[in-house]
Amino acid sequence: MVSLSTIFHRSGSSRFFFQGSVAWIRWLYVAGILLLVVGMIWGLFFAPADRLQGESARIMFVHVPAAHLSQLVYLAIAAAGVVWLVWRMKLVDICMTALAPIGCALTGLALASGAIWGIPTWGTGWVWDARLTSTLVLFFLYIGLIALRGALAGNQRAAMAVSILALVGAVNIRIIKYSVDWFATLHQPGSITLGGPPAMAPAFLWPLAVNVLGFHALVAGAALAAMRAELVQRDARTDWVRSVLNVGPKQAP
């Protein structure tokens, strides 16, 4: 029986994480791919067409999970930033590094699929709506995080800078949402709002839920895999990497 504090301290160990995450990644990838295949086929062929939007509402099944995950990943980065500023855990910094490109890709996907959805339904791919604008700003925030990490030398300094920026951005993205919403209602009354799905019929809800779960699993698996890569890259010279990779002279048992 392993105590809780042992688990906590072990989870901060690079070697333990590197070896323990393999099984997690495998299962998360398998689950994610299975769920996504099921959810996408369900959404494409078996879900009914929407009464108002017709067939094009099927894009929802890929757009909503991407938009949801893009915000969740930023929230995770900001939370990791707080944890890093308080405890200076190395794995948390590696987690921030791994999550930023994934979140950036998801935000791009949300923007692209939203624009593709907008053309047949709204007649235009882009509206300066509160949600669209804040998603676009989120995209720039992700790029800023990646660029700042790339520009700064030294892991400690980069980690601190990125944590601060992630926190400031997290506060900012909330304010942006309110301010743009307000601005839009001030000047373009009756513009299209992407309201959340109110009381969605189960026929839409189930494939959507399957896809959201699939996105979660795949993104979590990819984040863990990216963390492993970053860990090996940073610790390339250390003893634990040597023993894990089985190179060099074997130590006497």
């Binding site: 094009s56 994934i102 610790d235």
Partner: protein, 48 residues
Amino acid sequence: MRDPSFYIWSAYAICVLVLACIALRPLASLRTAKRRARKLQNQLVDHA
């Protein structure tokens, strides 16, 4: 309303493409990182 099937297929195709990139990129970079680490460790051993 225009025929939406083109938009639906392109949205799904982009989604699959981006997800494939998200899933495969870490695996590729892990492979590269491992290879580099092996090389570095071998150099360290040779040096010692």
